[in-house]
Structure formats: C-alpha cells, structure tokens
Amino acid sequence: MNASTPLAIGLILVVAVGGLVYMQTRNPHPLPTNPQMVPTDAQEDTTLPADSTATTTPPVVQVDAIVQ
C-alpha cells in the first residue's frame, strides 16, 4: 500500500460529504436552532385565526367613565 490509498479514501469522503450538503442546500429544510441563542424577546404571535372575526364581540364601552 502506498500514499495514494489514504489520499483516495479522504478525497472520496470530502466529495461525498460536500455533495450531500450541496444537495441539502438546494433542497433546504429548517436547521436546528440553539434554544439558548435564540432571542428571548421574540414577539408573541397575536394573529387571529381566519374565522375568528365572525365570533369576535365588540369591546364594551364604559359610558359613565367617558362622561366623567
């Protein structure tokens, strides 16, 4: 065995992993995120569901408070 064997094995590994990542990049899916490094002040999702407007009741106005 000479130096070409480890060189070939190593290069095959580099090309295989590089190709795998390249294919993944072309067809991406969400990467895992570190919970400790995600900003904790992220806005809460206040979006109402699409059909929520039908059941939403108008706010009650305190007339007495406005008059005073």
Binding site: P6, G10, V17, V21, L31, T33, Q36, V38
Partner: protein
Amino acid sequence: MQSFNSMTDRDARAFAPVVLRLALAALFLWFGFSQVMDPFGWLSWLPAWAANLTWISPAGIVLFNGWFEVILGAMLAVGLLTRWVALLLALHLFVIAFGIGYNDIGVRDFTLALTTLALSLGGADWLTLDKQAH
C-alpha cells in the same frame, strides 16, 4: 478456532482508529460545508462574544469557521498531520461546547470534543498519509 478469534480481534482493532478518524472527519466536513454554503442559516449559533470579537461581520465569521472546519476536516480525512489537526479541532469543539453550555447539545459537543482529543492522543493510524508517506 483460537487463532481465528485472535486474528479477527487483531484485524478489528486495526480498523478502530481508522473508523474513528473518518467518522470525525465526516462530522467536521458536514458542519464546515453547511456553514460555507449557507452562512446566514447558521447565524443563530454564533455567540455574542464571537460576533463582537473582530471587525468581521457575523456571516463572515461563520464563513471563516466553516472553511476552518472544511480544511482541517479534509486533512483529518486523508490523515495529514493527524495528531495536531485533531488537537486543534478538539480545542475548537471544547470552545463551542462551553459556549453552548449545559444542555443536551452542549453535552453532546463536549463528548465529541473528548472523542477528538482521544484521536489526537492516539495519533496517526496505518491508513493515513502520515504513515504511508514515510
């Protein structure tokens, strides 16, 4: 039968450091290539202290880190300066593990750092350029 068993054991032992080295090389290559091909996708992993370390932009630091892991991962794959490359990668992974902290991912990275350190301590195996070139 006895000689067959001992022969198998000897052959298996010879491949243990090879499998360890190639597996760790694939690990560093995967993370390195991923950062090189999509640096913005990895920004959430960049700790604040690293982002403020130099004038380089956060994406630039991810890109630099990615190339570092690709080059050293390739050197590990072919077995070039195996002991020193593994030591550098182990120290690199220790920094990452301590940065992530005590959680499931941090514990995993800490163990991978120890595994890479073990590879460095073991040195070049028989299927490396280090051994075959001499």
